[in-house]
């Protein structure tokens, strides 16, 4: 899998929300999208899966321009987990995950598809909840179901729009570990929009920093996520912390504007 994004711009009513974004991503890698609210992270993710078609620029997966791929086949290449999710009352966990197999289901559901659903649920350790109704779950469990649905799509690229935002710290780490493992083992790639800089620091291979629709940093987390960059983008002072467990970045106050 090789994703190449080149010169992507997106305008809504003449207002430019993404300006000339270019990056590439190969399998086994995780790219973290970082930036303040409204910086264009969600729009970039939605542009890649054509929920919002980019105004200009090209996006290719393994050399194929995504706009030219049949939408139903694109579903097998890109698995998307939205920021705000929706489900219907009376639908169960496994039925929700089964939708990820839409591409392969004509009318009746084969045993193979059901096995695939079971595997996705087990991968996130929610197999025993298969029969629960969606509204019986906690926010974190629900988020895992949506991630399981993306797994069931069996894509080569995962796009996660703040997938861990509804999760408590244990779930956050669990989900990130699982996704790290899956991207390595299945040779898939993942783009994840995160607010938690330390998740980006710890799990991402590359970081792309967005600010007002522009790329202001792109590279290895330790090179990009510096106190200077965070000060510029978020207007927050922070410091780096390094010990035997790893490298951390700790934001602690809104930057002082009075010099």
């Amino acid at each position: 899998m090789e994703l190449i994004v080149e010169g992507v711009c997106k305008e809504f009513d003449k207002r430019r929300v993404l300006d000339n974004i270019s990056f590439s991503l190969s399998d086994g890698k995780i790219l973290a999208l970082v930036g303040p609210n409204g910086s264009g992270k969600s729009t970039l993710i939605k542009s890649i899966t054509l929920i919002h078609e980019p105004t200009t620029g090209s996006i290719t997966i393994d050399g194929d321009e995504v706009r030219k791929i049949d939408p139903i086949d694109l579903a097998t290449k890109i698995g998307y987990v939205p920021q705000s999710f929706s489900y219907t009352l009376y639908s169960t966990v496994f039925e929700t995950v089964l939708l990820g197999r839409r591409r392969y289901i004509k009318w009746s559901v084969s045993d193979e598809e059901l096995s695939r659903v079971q595997q996705s649920l087990d991968a996130l350790d929610i197999g025993l909840m298969a029969g629960h109704f969606m509204d019986q779950l906690s926010g974190g469990e629900r988020q895992k179901v949506f991630i399981a649905r993306a797994l069931a799509q069996d894509p080569s690229l995962y796009l996660f729009d703040e997938p861990t935002s509804a999760l408590d710290i244990r779930y956050q780490i669990e989900v990130m570990e699982t996704m790290r493992q899956i991207t390595w083992q299945q040779r898939t790639a993942m783009i994840i929009a995160v607010h938690d800089l330390n998740l980006a620091y710890r799990y991402a291979d590359t970081v792309l920093v967005l600010s007002q629709g522009q790329m202001v940093g792109y590279g290895k987390p330790e090179d990009i996520l510096t106190p200077e960059c965070i000060r510029e983008v978020y207007g927050v002072d922070s410091f780096k912390l390094e010990n035997e467990l790893g490298k951390f970045i700790i934001p602690y106050r809104v930057k002082e504007t009075i010099k």
Partner: protein, 387 residues
């Protein structure tokens, strides 16, 4: 090796058994509803001012079919003889006339209307992901009634000879139907202009509904008394317009729209995950919505044209079924359709017999029967965490 598809790990089959249990439950409900509709139809054909036993009802239908078949065969191969005389006739000599000419068209109309309105409501709820949507929330009912009122008030003469050959009824139907579609396009157009989200669509529907309601009131205010009476009959809704012509027109429409809508089942299921995810799953959300709304509007307004305004079913039948069997549209659409047929048929039977020979509007009975059942389901579902 991928632990995620590891063949050494024993395969769990929990999902498989859940799926099978669910399917069994859904098929059971479908069969139950089908039997309920058939049984109600047979009983309903027997009750009224003249009572006819269920067996006589069956014999009447059988004999009538045999008679038609015999006449047809005789016209094709004149030499055919004999077997027709051995077809048993009903004990009550009047039975066949009453059942075939008077009661069956009405029963069929109730079934077809129930089917169309309920499946239209079901699909609309799925398309708009809102359990409160129905042909009526989208302004369709007011629009269709305005179309009909307009036709009644103006009369076909207004358009000269254009509709003369069709007669008054068909003119009313066509107008109801045109206004139904017009509204659908208008509502959809307005919602798309504002960026197509759930609330704008429903808001647009409600607003346009009000505008057409105002139109209906204005028409009934300005027309003469006699025409107004027609209008009141139309606005109250009922199976008074039943005839074999109507039934034979509605049967192919119902069957066709049913299959077209059921074909959308999986896309509707996927749409329950939200527009963005549905798009990611390869579904053309705009096209699905437009097609689905058009087909369901077509089904609903065809029936509205024959029955007048029947509310409630399009909203409640799908909701009741969703509570019983969940959200899989492959089963939800057919079971909603049958539930709608059962509710409307039972209500109409009660409405025409409870104070016989005086008929009361079917809506009164329907709201009571359906409403009580609906409250029962909500109360029952509470304990199970469905609500």
């Amino acid at each position: 090796m991928d632990p995620y598809t590891n063949p050494d790990k024993p395969q769990k089959k929990f999902v498989h058994s859940l799926y099978r249990e669910g399917s069994k439950k859904r098929i059971t409900l479908l069969l139950f509803l089908l039997l309920l509709v058939i049984a109600t139809a047979i009983i309903s054909a027997g009750i009224g001012t003249v009572r006819i036993s269920p067996w006589d009802t069956v014999l009447s239908v059988g004999h009538s079919i045999a008679a038609h078949l015999y006449n047809f065969l005789k016209s094709v191969t004149p030499g055919i003889i004999g077997w027709y005389q051995s077809v048993p006739v009903p004990v009550n000599p009047q039975a066949e006339l009453i059942v075939i000419e008077f009661r069956l068209p009405r029963i069929f109309l109730a079934i077809l209307t129930g089917v169309c309105l309920a499946m239209a409501g079901c699909v609309m709820q799925g398309l708009l992901r809102n359990p409160l949507v129905s042909p009526f929330t989208l302004g369709l009912s007011s629009a269709a009634s305005f179309g009909a009122a307009f036709a009644i008030a103006i009369g076909p003469g207004f358009f000269g000879g254009l509709f003369l050959s069709f007669g008054d009824d068909v003119f009313i139907i066509i107008m109801a139907f045109l206004f139904g579609w017009l509204t659908m396009f208008l509502v959809y157009g307005i919602a798309r202009l504002r960026g197509m989200n759930q609330s704008t669509l429903i808001l647009a529907g409600v607003v346009i509904g009000y505008i057409f309601s105002a139109g209906v009131s204005a028409l009934s205010y300005f027309t003469t008394n006699e025409k107004l009476r027609n209008l009141t009959v139309w606005l109250m809704g009922g199976m008074w317009g039943a005839s074999w012509t109507a039934v034979l027109l509605l049967i192919p429409i119902t069957i066709l729209t049913f299959f077209l809508l059921v074909r959308m089942s999986w896309d509707l299921n996927a749409l329950s995950a939200g527009d963005d995810v549905a798009k990611n799953l390869g579904i053309n959300v705009h096209r699905l919505r437009l097609q689905g709304l058009m087909i369901s509007t077509f089904a609903a307004s065809c029936c509205l044209a024959f029955t007048g305004i029947i509310g409630f079913i399009g909203l409640m039948a799908p909701h009741i079924c969703r509570m019983l069997i969940g959200n899989d549209h492959r089963y939800l659409i057919p079971s909603s359709a049958l539930a709608g047929a059962a509710i409307l048929l039972i209500s109409d039977t009660v409405a025409r017999t409870i104070m016989s020979p005086v008929e009361i509007p079917v809506g009164i009975i329907m709201y009571v029967i359906g409403g009580v059942f609906f409250i029962f389901l909500i109360v029952r579902a509470r304990g199970k965490g469905l609500y």
